[in-house]
Point group: C2
Chain length 165, copies 2
């Protein structure tokens, strides 16, 4: 779906943003999309993202109905925006839970790793897109102004790349 170099690029963009908004679909007929912040726990990315979750959480119920999710990462300060789309599944794999256990997780699960509620969402990313504006804001507004003056089609706003289907 994405080369190792591209995965590294995506990781470099999202690792400092740290918290993504995980979008799931409720089962009702209308207004079914909802998002909530989820913290990255890993320190590298090979196409799968992991997040701790209580096993009985509503998002777990939602991914049982529909595994399609989207995770958005935004950093308004540096104007970095990433959309990742994939399939989520719940896991209670002990090795995974051990591997990523951290202070945050231990604060949320009072019985620690042995808490029967401790679970992880494993999200296999199939496609995505990112936008990076590598100019600072002053330059970027200049680009907008320049585009107006010269009647170029659109201003040069930086990098935008898709991957996957």
């Amino acid at each position: 779906m994405s080369s190792p170099e591209h995965k590294q690029k995506i990781w470099n963009l999202i690792k400092d943003i740290k918290v993504g908004m995980l979008v799931t679909q409720e089962n009702n007929e209308s207004d079914r999309l909802r998002a909530r912040p989820m913290s990255l726990v890993q320190d590298a990315y090979d196409g799968t993202l992991y997040f701790y979750t209580p096993k009985s959480d509503s998002k777990v119920y939602e991914i049982k109905n529909d595994r399609d999710v989207c995770i958005t990462f935004s950093d308004p300060e540096n104007q970095v925006y990433v959309s990742l789309t994939g399939k989520a599944k719940l896991t209670q794999d002990k090795d995974l839970i051990d591997k990523y256990w951290n202070a945050w997780a231990s604060a949320w699960f009072k019985e620690g790793k042995e808490d029967p509620e401790v679970a992880m969402l494993e999200v296999k990313i199939n496609k995505g897109e990112h936008w990076v504006t590598d100019e600072n804001k002053v330059l970027q507004l200049y680009e907008v102004a320049k585009a107006n003056i010269k009647e170029e089609t659109v201003p040069d706003m930086g990098e935008n790349e898709k991957f996957g289907n």
Copy 2:
């Protein structure tokens, strides 16, 4: 769906973030959720969000198939996260296009307001949720540590409120 005071609160959270990730649904059977950054154009919020878009953009096609969208706003620096869910529709209402016209819009539409591609997405928000951590990060890590030590159920991470159904 939401009181005027609550709308004002949401507006205060998102107006400085400025760019939200608009999540739409492609018509294919799998991996259909995708997001892209969209700039706020308004200077107040009464339950509807507006964004400029080219009329022939893929997101316009997507909302014709399914009007359900989600917009996520994230500010990792200040740890503010907002999820808004609603119905999108395309409009080419001249008054609306005039009202919100700005330097950004004029940079993207080379023929100006009269460009036949100029359109807006009008998103009526029906429900949402926000998370705000009003402590600074040092204090917040302290909260996590404290929760570990005292075996409280979860750390006090700030405000989290839902509205709508």
